[in-house]
Symmetry: C2
Subunit: 500 residues, 2 copies
């Protein structure tokens, strides 16, 4: 129970060290010693195979209520702490996937429990307002002291939303509205616009498009889904839009050893982008915006160079398209910068940057020019949830106080160099280790072996996620430290050594 947990955490913060000695380190010379004076567990503890009997029983029950075939196992969130997720069978696992990259500072962080237990905050949890018409008194301050303190360069405005998909959907809408007003030369729709839009027809509902990339993932609602191209299962049987899809560069890793070939591949993709923009303009479906992830995540952790993104941004400018950087998975610090696009070193990286997951609330930052001209154009009932902004403010405090971005950079270096060593040791199984900060990935020889390794890792106390056809993605919380890296590497090394 959380109250017991809070007491325990307080005890720990009083330097009562309850930790067991670190388990033996078989892979790396550095011992897996926990130097973090925190509320974390010290190591995995496995009691059953995962899913265990209780998880299996609950999954069966859940199958009576809804499709439960994606459920991995059921969790005991009350007992989970820091980097460790505890399941309902009492298994405690090092979490390197964190609810699809959405837990910023670990489970049951004391700072967040304090936010919930503060009676002054209770109202925010029980009175969810229609933020677009009746915001709470504190909301301007919450935005100013929260989201706006991490606003990307050049983007002075922010629109709160509730999740990643609605953030991207509304970012698309903002780009369409901006583009049409640019075409009009003013913001007053014609009578034909007003009457035709009511029946889904042009000119009111124009044939505009968003250019996206092969392997992209931008969400699953129907606008977003038209720009998602990571896996057929996400798209199959759902009507879509005839929008252009450019090739995302397929680079060779390590990037620094393949500069020339990679630059050629990126140039090819950029050329294709321009061709598609022109082609779709001729088709009568002009590209209003380009959407891209700084690192394609669900699609396989595909990277591109800073030059690629800066050139793409220039192409967008040249052709009058808005440039939307989707940081739903990459944002919030995991790459060692708060936003992954900061690695590009651009003063003017984007027109729109969308976020969710680790940010706990959805939304998008945007340039002044993208502001809508009238009320109710970017709108819905809730427009987010102020209780999430309360929690986010505390997450940002912890990131700053604990200097977590520098920590992520340090931890990420250890993780990536460990992955390099593993792929050198097991070249028949592993390849293409890559990453920025702790936002790392490695390829496995095929999807079947990848899936098996993930299940074996879980049974040995490490939760990993897959992405693309045969990649493993690493998505730890920002409080994942070097000793957690070594803990993971030891367990993973043993699995690989035993691999037949």
């Amino acid at each position: 129970m959380a109250s017991a947990l809070l007491r325990r955490q307080l005890a720990i913060s009083l330097h009562i060290n309850l930790r067991f000695p670190a388990s033996g380190c078989r892979y790396v010379s550095k011992a897996a010693v926990n130097t973090q004076a925190d509320y974390d567990y010290d190591r995995p503890l496995m009691k059953t195979q995962v899913p265990g009997p209780r998880s299996q029983e609950l999954t069966k029950q859940m199958g009576q209520i809804q499709n439960a075939t994606a459920i991995n196992f059921f969790c005991n969130y009350e007992e989970s702490r820091g980097n460790f997720l505890v399941d309902v069978d009492g298994n405690r696992m090092l979490d390197v996937y964190t609810q699809i990259s959405s837990i910023p500072i670990g489970y049951n962080h004391p700072a967040l429990l304090k936010v919930v237990s503060d009676p002054n905050n209770a109202s925010a949890f029980v009175n969810r307002p229609a933020l677009g018409i009746l915001p709470p008194e504190s909301f301007v301050d919450k935005l100013t002291q929260g989201l706006l303190t991490v606003a990307p360069s050049g983007l002075n405005r922010v629109q709160n939303m509730a999740c990643g998909s609605c953030s991207n959907e509304n970012a698309f809408k903002a780009m369409f509205i901006w583009y049409r007003n640019k075409e009009r030369g003013h913001s007053t729709p014609s009578d034909a616009d007003l009457s035709s839009c009511m029946i889904n027809q042009t000119p009111g509902c124009p044939e505009l498009s968003i250019l996206s990339f092969t392997g992209a993932f931008h969400g699953r609602t129907m606008g977003c889904l038209a720009t998602t191209h990571s896996k057929p299962i996400h798209k199959l049987d759902v009507p879509s839009f005839d929008w252009p899809i450019a090739p995302f560069p397929r680079l060779q890793y390590p990037l620094e050893e393949h500069v020339r070939e990679n630059a050629q591949e990126e140039a090819r993709c950029l050329e294709e982008v321009e061709d598609l923009i022109i082609k779709w303009r001729h088709k009568g479906r002009p590209v209003a915006g380009i959407v891209i992830e700084p690192i394609q995540a669900e699609g396989g952790d595909n990277h591109a160079s800073a030059d690629f993104f800066k050139n793409l941004r220039n192409i967008a400018c040249k052709h009058g398209c808005a440039f939307h950087v989707d940081e739903v998975q990459t944002g919030g610090g995991a790459t060692g910068r708060f936003w992954a696009h900061e690695h590009w070193g651009a003063d003017d990286p984007a027109d729109i940057v969308s976020f969710s997951k680790k940010m706990l609330t959805g939304g998008f930052f945007y340039r002044d020019e993208l502001e809508t001209d009238k009320p109710y154009r970017i709108f819905n009932t809730w427009m987010g949830d102020p209780s999430k902004n309360l929690l986010l403010a505390e997450v940002l405090n912890v990131i700053r106080q604990e200097n977590l971005l520098a920590e992520v950079t340090r931890t990420g270096k250890a993780l990536l160099s460990g992955l390099y060593e593993l792929q050198a040791k097991y070249p028949a199984i592993l390849s293409r280790a890559r990453g920025q900060g702790t936002f790392c990935a490695i390829d496995v020889c095929n999807g079947t072996v990848r899936d098996r390794l993930i299940l074996q890792a879980r049974n040995n106390g490490v939760i990993l996620g897959g992405c693309g056809d045969c990649s493993i993605r690493f998505r730890p919380a920002l409080i994942f430290k070097e000793h957690h890296v070594h803990m993971f590497l030891n367990i993973f090394n043993d699995l690989l050594a035993a691999h037949k």
Copy 2:
């Protein structure tokens, strides 16, 4: 502050009656006496025009951050209680709009504050899981003891989602998937399906459609928006789908005095529905599903008869289309039944019923046949929020314990008969009073006068909302009692009497 509020509520529950005598009743014979032994305020209390100076200052600040032109005023949610919303200038208003119909049992209900202050629940507020893969141990119970206790007739399954739009988007996807599998005769996609869907093309992304109605509102993400036809501002400049739009019956009120003409109008609309289904089949865009609100809300509080809906459901069956009833605004008790469609008296009312708003969480109930065949087809990172299910469970308890559906029916009768009397008294201004439970509306002679009346009512301590071109919609919480009705009628009557 909520803690002070909680103490005050406890004091009140000890029968320390702090209430002022009810203000004089100028409209109805029944005095506006508060018989509710609860935590509510007793009456409005106005200190400034609304928005007052503090709200204006905050709106100006908000305008620097995002489009703030839809903001009515800023609220002090900590001080709001029951049916009364308090603003940042100290004005206390009777809330007959409740955050666009989304506050089920009033502000700061003690039962909900207790949920938040219970340390056992803290974990649910700080560890938001990826529910589709790693649900909490209690989630099956929460669904069984919560949402499933109010499952519509014939719908045994429920999919949790986060908001109204994503509930409808995913309900549409479920209908498309079901329809395509029905066409295939099995659930195994072809190679052509799998490859074409990745580039947004047929057959993988099929040209299927959802039939919707003029005046409908089903949300603002791009799939939902293609079925929304209430106002141009929602749709303008956003690309859409060529989907069929049938006329929603335009009935005369009171319904019981216009049975014959209304039946004719409904028959005309149903005929058009069948024509459109056939026409779109011939166009190569078959109708996979029909979506409709039991009472069109945002589009102007348009009603139709039980026969209309039952016949429409039969037409859907006859043509092999799924039938989706969107109860996002009508659901949760405001019509005097838990779901508005219960008024139809049908054993088999729908294939899918979606919800959000008063339910605090989004989602949709569905028939077994609509279950998806594979994992990850109806999926996203969060799939809802277990902390909202905790609060919903408590809302359902309160509804049962306080017999709120019967109360809503009683209150609704008082409200509707009051509206009838007002429209008889002011026939040049008011007409078409209509409603079910407290889910009522009345038309004003034109949109300008409607908007002015809403602003005047606000300055006199009553918050109302508009809908359609010239309607006022009444959306009080389920704890709105007869004395609140009389409070509203008195204030509104004075405004109308003073109307030039």
